[in-house]
């Protein structure tokens, strides 16, 4: 048996470090909480990809918004493309409860359009400005990231990485429920 207290101190140190890393496996390092949650969503005006219609975020007050940041070069965005389209059809077209918006960042218009066609996206798509102002205002780490903005224009939740169907439904219901509670 080793009597030295230093030895036990070293062992304790090893245990703490190893324990910490073992704990690290159980959590996702990418889920840094956005400081924007609970704050008003930064406003923007964009023109629909392919021209025509413009959209001013502030005018959507009263309708919850799913704001998805994507890019044609982003691999994970392909995985979630169908889900966002499904959410748009279910909650946007059918019941009109939610508006789905996709903002492409660091993208070329033709590539973004090709991507939208390939994945059959029909919801409102637009390009971020040249300087990436919208991405900067929302403190984007990368794509995809999705913001859930409630009826009052306040950011309710932020999803880093591709969305899941369950996640979308949960957030849409949460935004609706929150509204009912207020009434």
């Amino acid at each position: 048996m080793i009597r030295s207290w230093k030895f036990w101190l070293v062992l304790a140190g090893i245990a703490v470090v190893v324990g910490l890393f073992a704990y690290g496996f159980t959590v996702d390092p990418k889920l840094v909480q956005s400081p924007l949650i609970g704050k008003p969503a930064p406003d923007f005006t964009v023109t629909r990809l392919g021209g025509g219609e413009t959209l001013h975020l502030a005018e959507l007050r009263g309708t919850p918004v799913i704001l998805n940041f994507w890019a044609s070069w982003c691999v994970a965005c392909r995985d979630e493309a169908a889900l966002l389209e499904k959410a748009h059809r279910r909650y946007g077209l059918e019941s009109g409860d939610v508006r789905v918006i996709g903002i492409a960042i660091q993208d070329r218009p033709e590539a973004a359009r090709a991507f939208a066609e390939r994945y059959g996206k029909t919801y409102f798509l637009a390009l971020d400005g040249e300087a990436g102002d919208i991405a900067l205002n929302y403190g984007l780490y990368g794509v995809p990231e999705t913001f859930f903005i409630d009826r009052d224009g306040v950011i309710h939740h932020k999803q880093v990485g591709p969305v899941t169907w369950e996640g979308l439904v949960t957030q849409v219901n949460a935004m609706a429920g929150q509204q009912q509670a207020k009434r």
């Binding site: 080793i2 230093k6 030895f7 470090v17 910490l20 890393f21 840094v32 890019a71 044609s72 590539a111």
Partner: protein, 660 residues
């Protein structure tokens, strides 16, 4: 077929390594040296098997054999040959095999080289190395077999991550690996000495050059990594305190501390427990580095290399550390040394301070790296530790180390007097004052930069003065010409002057780093044909060019750079599109001068024909790269020095230190 043979070779290597764990110990307890010899042979055989498996994987890459799923995931038909080779270590499984290959090579060198010397500890050195082999090969034949095949066979692979398609990327991981892995050798000798209970200075003297070797490759590996980040990531810096950079930096710090503190053991028989601790920690951090890179436990730019074998690494680290420290404390009586630093004003105490600073920096880096995990475990909050934390603490400690190089060079072993120091430091301090005044006159206003200039020129002056004096003495006594006196001085004490050249390189690196204090950044959108003034240059955008390069298509902005109306250069910052990945990559254009790098990244090409550029003026960067040839020359010189393979008492007697 070859792939299956390769896999069989890996299993055979595992069997041979298991033999290497058991046989040497049996040989020692049964006093049968043939068993030990057989284990040495097994170590060399292991290299043969691992090499054969590596050849099989390399063959699969070079012949586009996509039946191997690792090749499918990391290569493609159109990939340039150089990157097909580099793809070997571009992913998890292959890099693990590469690690095993390098360790097998170094182990075989050890087994071959020390057949007659170090007879007492070598059996246990083989045992230690074999345990590491068993761990790596165990992973290779189970969880991460790089030769695993798939069916049906795809026509083309997914391609190598374009970020990794950079010349520095072909060299940076192997260099880092060599560095990490080479620290296994001093570690194995340390463990061998502990297991055998032979705790004189033999292991330190034997592994001196191995340590230098490891240090060199770890240093070069990190510089190349910085080079890659600088040219490929497009944000204009070479170091971001990313967890993976930190993971490579920590063993470098403790390894550098070890490199210095073993000199105290070699020369003064001090710090035996400390050196043992440092080598254990350095080895542990080397594995931790791989663990952090590969496990994805911390968020990082290196996330492309994640895999599921993190837990296995973590368990291995825990076992290694617990066993190593248990052993050390069991033998602690044999390690306690009789000497301490005699006075504050001595070379010994500058070495202690050196170690304190290195460990302080390592601890800061460690804390900053794991703090996000701590915060989450304790408070449940997600956060990330950013560069300002590291810079604030580490910059002053680093500058302290830079100054310490100068002080340590001039101060004497055992005892120095204050008057001696004042006499010796007069000229270097004067040199520092002159440089400080000159820099201030030239318009450098930043306190941090001025401090680096002053401290750096002090240290450089000390180094030149010290060398000049030694040459002058030899010239007076030997009567040879000045160049031959200089040559003789260096050759008489290769270790000392190798160290001096490296330290001069350190001064250069610091000088280069100090440019960070006054860099500037400009974001511009340029229309074709309209010149723009930026940071004293005139920039003319000619238009966008699209052309193929390798397997990529480049969209490059053609820019003409002028200064005071005089044409300097045409630069082509670009975005490159790879067929297998839709994500465009930034290809920066850099004009390097001694004063600064003019660094342009193409942010976007716009529909109206304009181009948006991110321009950085990075002062003095090039000076940091000048450290590189000096490190190489210094290490080469220091490696020429043959440490005496004598026990400590004999060394002490020779140095006239016995009984002191």
């Amino acid at each position: 077929m070859t792939n299956h043979i390769g896999y069989i070779c890996l299993t055979a290597a595992l069997a041979v390594s298991l033999y290497g764990v058991v046989a040497p110990h049996l040989g020692v307890t049964r006093n049968n040296w043939n068993l030990v010899r057989s284990a040495q042979f097994a170590t060399i055989l292991n290299l043969g098997f691992v090499f054969a498996a590596s050849v099989a994987l390399m063959r699969a890459f070079l012949t586009d054999d996509f039946s191997v799923s690792f090749v499918f995931q990391n290569s493609s038909v159109d990939l340039p040959v150089m990157y097909k080779i580099a793809a070997f270590w571009g992913g998890m499984d292959g890099s693990l095999l590469f690690w095993e290959l390098v360790l097998a090579l170094l182990s075989a060198v050890v087994a071959y080289r020390y057949q007659r010397s170090n007879r007492e500890v070598i059996p246990y050195v083989i045992v230690t190395l074999s345990i590491i082999h068993v761990f790596l090969l165990g992973l290779l034949v189970t969880y991460s077999n790089p030769l695993a095949t798939q069916y049906p066979i795809p026509d083309n692979g997914r391609g190598l991550n374009p970020l990794l398609q950079h010349p520095a990327m072909a060299a940076h991981p192997p260099m880092l690996y060599l560095g990490y892995i080479a620290f296994s050798i001093p570690f194995a000798f340390a463990m061998g000495s502990l297991l055998r209970g032979k705790l004189d200075n033999e292991w330190v003297v034997t592994t001196r050059r191995w340590t230098l070797f490891a240090w060199f490759f770890l240093t070069v590996g990190q510089m190349l990594g910085g080079q890659w980040a600088y040219e490929e990531l497009g944000w204009g810096g070479y170091w971001a305190w990313d967890p993976v950079e930190n993971a490579a930096f920590m063993p470098w710090l403790t390894g550098t501390a070890f490199l210095h503190s073993v000199m105290l053991q070699e020369k003064r028989n001090m710090m035996k427990v400390w050196n043992m601790t440092l080598i254990i920690v350095t080895f542990g951090l080397s594995i931790l580095g791989t663990f952090i890179v590969r496990s994805g436990v911390l968020n990082s730019v290196h996330a492309f290399a994640q895999s599921e074998i993190g837990p296995a690494f973590l368990i291995f680290i825990a076992i290694v550390l617990v066993l190593a420290f248990t052993l050390m404390f069991r033998r602690i009586k044999l390690l306690e040394s009789r000497h301490t630093a005699d006075t504050l004003l001595s070379k010994e105490s500058t070495f202690l301070l050196n170690n304190l600073l290195f460990i302080g920096i390592a601890f800061t880096v460690f804390l900053g790296t794991v703090f996000p995990l701590v915060a989450e475990a304790v408070r449940g909050t997600k956060l990330s530790v950013q560069a300002p934390f590291f810079n604030t603490i580490i910059a002053p400690l680093g500058i302290g180390l830079l100054g310490l190089v100068g002080v340590c060079t001039l101060i004497a072993w055992r005892h120095s007097s204050a008057s001696y120091l004042i006499r010796n430091f007069r000229w270097p301090v004067a040199a520092a004052a002159v440089v400080l005044a000159a820099a201030a006159l030239l318009g450098v206003r930043h306190g941090g930069a001025l401090t680096v200039f002053a401290v750096g020129s002090f240290t450089a002056a000390v180094l030149f003065m010290d060398f000049g004096r030694a040459v002058a003495v030899r010239h007076r006594q030997g009567g040879g010409s000045w160049p031959s006196s200089a040559f003789q001085t260096v050759m008489r004490n290769q270790q000392r002057y190798g160290g001096m050249v490296i330290h001069l390189g350190v001064v250069f690196v610091f000088f280069g780093l100090s440019g960070n204090y006054f860099r500037s950044e400009h974001n511009l959108t340029l229309l074709p044909g309209k010149p723009v003034e930026v940071a004293g240059y005139q920039l003319l955008y000619k238009g966008m060019k699209v052309y193929p390069e390798g397997n990529a298509t480049l969209h490059a902005a053609e820019l003409e750079l002028y200064r005071d109306g005089e044409f300097l250069d045409t630069l082509h910052p670009a975005r490159s599109f790879y067929p297998t990945t839709p994500e465009p990559l930034t290809e920066v254009a850099i004009r390097r001068t001694l004063a600064h790098d003019f660094y342009i990244a193409l942010a976007s090409e716009n529909e109206d024909g304009s181009a948006t550029l991110r321009i950085l003026v990075n002062p003095l960067v090039i000076w940091a790269w000048f450290g590189f040839p000096l490190f190489t020359a210094g290490i080469a010189l220091a490696m020429l020095y043959k440490p005496r393979t004598l026990g400590a008492p004999a060394v002490e007697k020779r140095l006239g230190l016995a009984g002191s």
